[in-house]
């Protein structure tokens, strides 16, 4: 692709070949992807890449990066990235995590907040929502789960670009790899750790931005309050008429908040 803003690279970290997407210029920002894998390079990536070097690793087991046998839960995966950051002398780094990726970032922060400079969590899993349940990816097709992730497919043009139409065999396989690895990490309890709110109280002195859609069908908005209460000083930005993907459903506002918070 001509003038492509991003490239794919491989780095040897924590004993494995980690494949990652990178693009942009400036200080590094680590982006941790969701339970269905890296969705592709989106407009918000482009905008962030003007001032930041965006680094999006494919989590171990998510298709391109090989599975790491010892990683069997989110704590293990957080530990993997902690090692990776140390080995690459990247700490403290800014981090943005989406859904499952938000849980990983929050878990790392709870373990050692000093590895991050700032943290953005977009509708993270990890806590049991006080009202409602996290939508169960493991009894749905990936396509059905994706369709439920935005409030209105028509008003999220980037969603249609990425996920519209019939899936290709490669896409289907990538989703199945992602679902399988997500199941290894978070089969039961589903996508949360019972005592996580208490662990989050250890996130002290780390500027944290929570971003959530009020109509999120994947991780109910009620979970936002748990995060906000547990992480001291955390700021919550909640979008109305928005589902689980504010970065595509409310792209302009999302990018503005990101710029402001990371400035």
């Amino acid at each position: 692709m001509a003038n492509q803003e991003w490239r794919e690279e491989t780095v040897r970290v924590a004993g494995t070949d980690l494949v990652y997407i990178t693009g942009g210029t400036g200080a590094p920002v680590l982006v941790l992807h969701e339970e269905l894998g890296h969705p592709g390079w989106l407009r918000w990536h482009s905008e962030l890449a003007r001032t930041r070097t965006v680094i999006i690793p494919h989590h171990p087991g998510f298709g391109k990066t090989p599975r790491v046998e010892s990683v069997r839960n989110v704590r293990d995966l957080g530990n993997f990235y902690t090692k990776a950051l140390r080995e690459r002398s990247l700490r403290p780094v800014e981090v943005i995590g989406f859904s499952l990726g938000g849980w990983i970032a929050a878990d790392m922060a709870a373990s050692d907040p000093s590895q991050f400079q700032k943290m953005v969590l977009v509708a993270p899993t990890g806590v049991k929502p006080p009202q409602g349940d996290i939508m169960d990816l493991f009894i749905l097709t990936a396509k059905a789960y994706l369709d439920a992730s935005v409030q209105d497919i028509q008003s999220a043009p980037e969603f249609a670009k990425l996920y519209g139409g019939e899936p290709t065999p490669e896409q289907f396989e990538a989703w199945e790899d992602a679902r399988a690895e997500s199941a290894r990490l978070a089969w039961v309890p589903y996508m949360f750790y019972p005592n996580f709110a208490s662990l989050l109280e250890n996130v002290v002195g780390l500027p944290t931005l929570l971003v959530w859609g009020k109509q999120d069908q994947i991780v109910p908005f009620s979970a936002a309050e748990v995060y906000k209460k547990s992480i001291s000083g955390a700021e919550l930005v909640a979008f109305d008429n928005c589902g689980h993907r504010p970065e595509v459903e409310k792209q302009a506002e999302f990018s503005q908040h990101l710029q402001r918070f990371l400035a």
Binding site: I139, L140, A144, E176, A180, E181, S182, A183, R184, W187
Partner: protein, 431 residues
């Protein structure tokens, strides 16, 4: 030849429209449609049918297990087996199979040993990974399904044979004290058989363990390939596979007239039949399939020709009448292909002969009932199978040289002196 009788012991009082409206799936139908009075009657009738099968001369009664679905009444198969262990005298009680990944293996080892003792050593345990939906019904991580299967299998063999007490710290199972005081009567362990729908990984695993492999109503051509694959692996393991290593489960319905048999056998496609066992998202939970199987599935699921077939009713509004027409058409196809055999004993014997000549199995299961069918009709079907079809099959088995696994020990045949294995199947022809 070992000839068995089998049915799913289905809860047959589910309206066909309900199955179709549920996305052509038995799994997921609300249990508000279950009436325990009907369930109670059916469970007792099904036990009586197994006793009757013994009286008629069958060598084995086969049971299976599925959870939280009207498709199969054997959600706690070991309980049925324990009852049969006491109320039958001669038949083998063949469990095809216990879903290892969703079980507590220590408890399972004790249950099965108890059944073996009560039955006087007539138990044939069998192991399965469990359909994908079992991972959901039992809340067991599908991504570790095969690992759990392997570890549970090895653990149970150890629990039966390794003097206790000992400790097990595995990857998926941890026991601080293993010392069961229920051990199988059959020494060192009972024969174990593996049923399946011809996944190559399981076929290879079975051949390596010298366990007979029983194909469950699969299409003839791929089943022949499976038999050949098994025999190849057997040769690598240093033995010649024979009929005692292979089994086949056949849908077969017998009645006094051709018309009646064909009408009753329609139960095999009731609501869509086996194809309606569960929807795609329940049959293929995350990580259940190997990487290779996922690649195959990715192609099939995204191909407009096959994909719509697999996920045909999963989404959107369901047109019940259209689906019923497609079920009717499919019924004609399965009768023609021989996946379902229906008729008078005379017709049925001819078609079974073709199956035996082609697949040369030493184990043959007759799956005699599915869908709505009265107790009387089920008993008539069993009676005709037992008194007319079964003796004919024994003659054919003798003529073709098809010993069962209790006549020739599976895995005991030496390879020919040339080191090259003998053929294990007959010529492929339509049943």
């Amino acid at each position: 030849m070992h000839i068995m009788s089998f049915s799913e012991r289905a809860y047959i009082d589910v309206p066909e429209d309900l199955i179709i409206e549920n996305g052509s799936s038995y799994f997921g139908i609300p249990n508000t449609n279950f009436d325990a009075k009907i369930g109670s009657r059916l469970m007792n009738e099904y036990l009586d049918e197994r006793v009757y099968a013994e009286e008629l001369g069958f060598d084995g009664v086969m049971l299976n297990e599925h959870h939280q679905t009207p498709f199969c009444g054997g959600s706690v198969m070991d309980v049925e087996a324990a009852i049969l262990a006491r109320i039958t005298k001669r038949v083998k009680i063949v469990l095809l199979g216990n879903p290892l990944p969703v079980a507590d293996p220590l408890r399972l080892a004790e249950e099965l040993a108890t059944i073996d003792m009560i039955s006087g050593g007539r138990l044939v345990p069998g192991w399965v990974r469990g359909a994908g939906s079992e991972s959901i019904a039992n809340n067991t991580n599908p991504a570790f399904n095969r690992e759990r299967f392997n570890e549970a299998h090895d653990f149970i063999i150890d629990a039966w044979t390794k003097p206790g007490p000992w400790r097990h710290e595995g990857k998926h199972y941890n026991y601080r004290y293993v010392n069961p005081w229920a051990l199988p009567l059959q020494k060192p362990v009972p024969q174990m058989w593996i049923p399946g729908i011809i996944s190559p990984e399981t076929v290879i695993w079975s051949a390596r363990h010298r366990y007979p492999y029983v194909a469950l109503g699969t299409n003839l051509e791929p089943t022949v390939e499976m038999v050949n694959l098994y025999a190849d692996v057997a040769a690598q393991e240093g033995y010649q596979a024979g009929p005692e290593n292979f089994g086949y489960l056949q849908n077969v319905c017998v009645a006094e007239t051709e018309e009646k048999a064909r009408e009753l056998a329609k139960g095999f496609v009731y609501g869509g039949g086996f194809g309606s066992f569960a929807r795609a998202e329940w049959m293929f939970p995350p990580g259940y399939n190997s990487k290779e199987a996922t690649k195959r599935l990715a192609k099939a699921m995204t191909d407009p020709r096959t994909g719509t077939e697999i996920i045909r009713f999963s989404q959107g509004k369901v047109d019940v009448e259209e689906i019923k027409r497609s079920i009717d058409k499919n019924y004609q196809d399965v009768l023609t292909s021989g996946l379902v055999i229906a008729g008078t004993p005379e017709t049925v014997i001819k078609r079974i002969r073709v199956m035996l000549e082609t697949l040369r199995p030493g184990i043959f299961g007759t799956w005699y009932h599915h869908g709505p069918m009265s107790f009387e009709d089920r008993k008539t079907c069993l009676r005709l199978l037992g008194t007319e079809v079964l003796p004919a099959m024994r003659e054919i088995a003798k003529e073709l040289g098809l010993p069962g696994p209790f006549e020739v020990k599976p895995g005991s045949r030496p390879l020919p002196a040339s080191g090259k294995r003998d053929s294990v199947v007959g010529a492929l022809k339509a049943a």
